[in-house]
């Protein structure tokens, strides 16, 4: 909203936490990109090297981020709103767990067998379902089972995608 606000206030102070944070975030990403592509050759305009575009785009990002951060000192805008960890943990956690269990993984001594959709499916529904404030256990458990069976039928049989169902039990 910042650039479009016509009325501008006098004096510089933080007038929009959100825009300031947004600007700083973009600057940080730009700096990270420049750091990561530091060793890539720029090449010349005739023969553009691998590093030319990442570095130039990152520089533009930093410039835009600076503009955004500075404009947050001049123009009124939104405040930062709260961050809901509950959603992040359960929803994204559920998805990560799905990724870990669907085909199994090994990190050092930690081993998870290949559990397949019949386990991973209910897991993701149950765990992500916890993010809702008005969750009902019974409903959620039934829903998890029904959804998993539906997805197994749809993806494995109707669409024949190669997704493991329960290799440890059914061998498929």
């Amino acid at each position: 909203m910042s650039l479009n606000k016509i009325e501008r206030a006098q004096g510089l102070r933080i007038r929009s936490q959100q825009d300031l944070a947004a600007g700083l975030f973009i600057i940080a990403l730009g700096l990270l990109a420049i750091f990561l592509s530091w060793n890539l050759p720029m090449g010349s305009l005739r023969q553009i090297g691998a590093g030319m575009l990442p570095k130039s785009i990152a520089s533009i990002c930093i410039g835009l981020g600076l503009l955004l951060a500075l404009s947050s000192l001049r123009y009124n805008g939104d405040e930062l709103s709260g961050w809901s960890w509950r959603g992040v943990i359960f929803v994204l956690g559920g998805a990560v767990l799905f990724g870990l269990t669907i085909r199994g993984f090994e990190i050092g001594s930690l081993k998870v067998p290949q559990l397949g959709l019949l386990i991973s499916g209910p897991l993701v529904v149950l765990i992500s379902g916890l993010a809702a404030e008005d969750k009902k256990w019974k409903e959620l458990i039934i829903f998890a089972v029904v959804m998993t069976l539906f997805c197994a039928l749809l993806f494995k049989y109707a669409l024949s995608l190669p997704i493991p169902l329960a290799p440890w039990l059914l061998g498929i």
Binding site: L3, N4, S37, S44, A50, G87, A95, I102, F155, S160
Partner: protein, 503 residues
């Protein structure tokens, strides 16, 4: 003309096979089914349903995806009318009068008018695509790398101007998208760029991973935050078909809306989003009694809905002829085409004429399907609108998880998507609108390639882009981009723009 008819005959020959009709039907049905859910827009719907097309042949897959797209669009309008929640920017206008009509017990007429208007608009748009397809493709073959680069610059400028919220922030998003597109192995030199030395990243960031993370997961996180208040219409739906009086009132708005929407939809850079707003404004200006608008005027549903559908469809033109997606939905289509091994662009029409014309013919069939499916099934949609979000989002999640896993059969992709979900949530929290990022991401690789080629040809001189003697098209496109940006940044215009997007 004769050529167009022979092309359309070819197309209908492809689209009217039993399998493709079935796919189109299923696509429209599931698209509407998911699109009708409050808070799930067309982008999320397509991203979520992408995996169900993986097993199909390319023609069938694209026909189905197009069906899903129309279904999601129409589902969004249904939600807008019945619940007053617009699924996306283009159905915002429909909530104004559509929901009022629903409150007055004329929900059925509103839905019916929207469906009939959309059908008419869809028919016209299909003809427009068929007519413009061949000449524009020929034009595209004249384009060199410099023209392509300038065209994409123009597309991105339009996308910046037409994005919701701050122009500066939209700019940031486009640039971020471009930056993300450079991650992975550089195609020209084979060097790895910004991969943290992590092997799964050396192929670059997967398009489906980014789209589902930012539009699937992050959207769920955003929706979970605000406790939902659904204002589902409790009055009767009423009769569906508009009576003679309604038809007389809406016929001109439909015609005007279709024209406006079809023209704006062709613009690169999400012109389609302007269609409904423009149509609503025009109808309000032309009306004898403008005060009826906002209180359930049928013109306020008929015009914008037609414009919406016409624009949604003509937005395919830049994609099919030039290979340049004009908005985030079309960017998803590019992703889908690439997964099926088709590189969108002028060569599609010459190399795969069945695919090109089959898809165009299927657009018309899809519109017919929408009419056939939607009106009788209104009761089902109303029921769906009552599904609580606490059950909806776990279902969305399991679909996304299976979908992402199936793209490459890579479990690590699911974890990546979760990471992008977090990233998308952060962007939303910082007030960014992520749709332009997706567009930048998709155009990024192509832009880099064309930039390199253009500079090799011109021996490293940027003059090639503004060389008015040899490359007037490129110069023209760049001038248009600058004009668009300057106009949008003028204080008077930016105030108007704010009004349009907050109305």
């Amino acid at each position: 003309m004769g050529e167009m008819i022979s092309h359309l005959t070819l197309g209908f020959g492809v689209a009217l096979t039993l399998q493709n009709i079935a796919l189109c039907f299923v696509g429209c049905l599931v698209g509407t089914l998911i699109g009708v859910l409050p808070g799930v827009g067309p982008i999320a719907t397509i991203a979520m349903l992408l995996p169900i097309t993986f097993g199909l042949d390319p023609v069938g897959a694209l026909i189905m995806l197009a069906g899903i797209y129309y279904g999601a669009q129409y589902g969004g309008s249904t939600t807008a009318i019945l619940v007053n929640i617009p699924g996306e920017a283009t159905s915002v206008v429909t909530t104004l009068d559509g929901h009022q009509m629903a409150k007055q017990g004329r929900a059925g007429v509103a839905l019916g008018t929207a469906a009939l208007g959309s059908f008419f608009a869809g028919c016209v748009a299909t003809l427009v695509i068929a007519a413009l397809g061949a000449p524009l493709t020929k034009l595209a073959l004249l384009f060199g790398p410099a023209e392509y680069f300038s065209l994409m610059v123009m597309g991105l400028c339009f996308a910046v101007v037409l994005a919701r919220g701050s122009i500066l922030k939209a700019f940031c998003m486009i640039m971020l998208g471009l930056l993300l597109s450079t991650v992975g192995t550089d195609l020209e030199t084979g060097q790895e760029r910004m991969t943290f030395g992590f092997p799964p990243l050396s192929d670059g960031i997967d398009f489906a991973v980014l789209a589902m993370g930012v539009f699937g997961f992050a959207e769920v996180l955003r929706n979970l935050e605000s406790p939902e208040t659904r204002d589902v219409v409790r009055t009767k739906i009423g009769r569906l078909l508009p009576n003679w009086e309604d038809i007389k009132q809406s016929i001109n708005p439909v015609l005007r809306g279709t024209t406006i929407g079809a023209i704006l939809g062709i613009l690169p850079g999400n012109g389609a989003v302007l269609g409904p707003f423009a149509s609503y404004t025009v109808e309000k200006k032309l009306a004898k009694d403008p005060s009826r608008f906002g209180r359930g005027a049928i013109e306020g549903v008929a015009g914008p809905e037609s414009a919406n559908n016409a624009g949604a469809q003509t937005a395919f033109i830049p994609l099919l002829t030039l290979g340049i997606p004009p908005n985030a939905v079309m960017a998803l289509m590019v992703g889908a085409m690439t997964i099926h091994g088709i590189i969108p662009g002028p060569q599609v029409m010459t190399k795969n004429p069945e695919l090109f014309w089959g898809m165009i013919a299927s657009m018309w069939i899809g519109n017919l399907m929408l009419l056939v499916i939607n009106l009788p099934l209104v009761g089902v949609w109303v029921k769906l609108l009552q599904v609580p979000y606490r059950l909806m989002f776990p279902a969305i999640l399991i679909f996304c998880c299976i979908g992402i896993y199936s793209v490459n059969n890579q479990p690590v992709d699911v974890a990546f998507t979760a990471l992008f979900g977090l990233f998308g949530y952060l962007l939303i929290k910082l007030g960014f609108e992520p749709a332009p990022m997706l567009l930048g991401f998709v155009l990024g690789k192509l832009m880099e390639e064309k930039l390199r080629q253009a500079l090799i040809i011109s021996r490293g001189s940027f003059y090639t882009f503004i060389d008015y003697q040899n490359r007037p098209i490129s110069l023209g496109l760049l001038i248009v981009s600058i004009i668009v940006l300057v106009i949008a940044l003028l204080p008077a215009m930016s105030k108007k723009r704010d009004e349009v997007f907050t109305e």
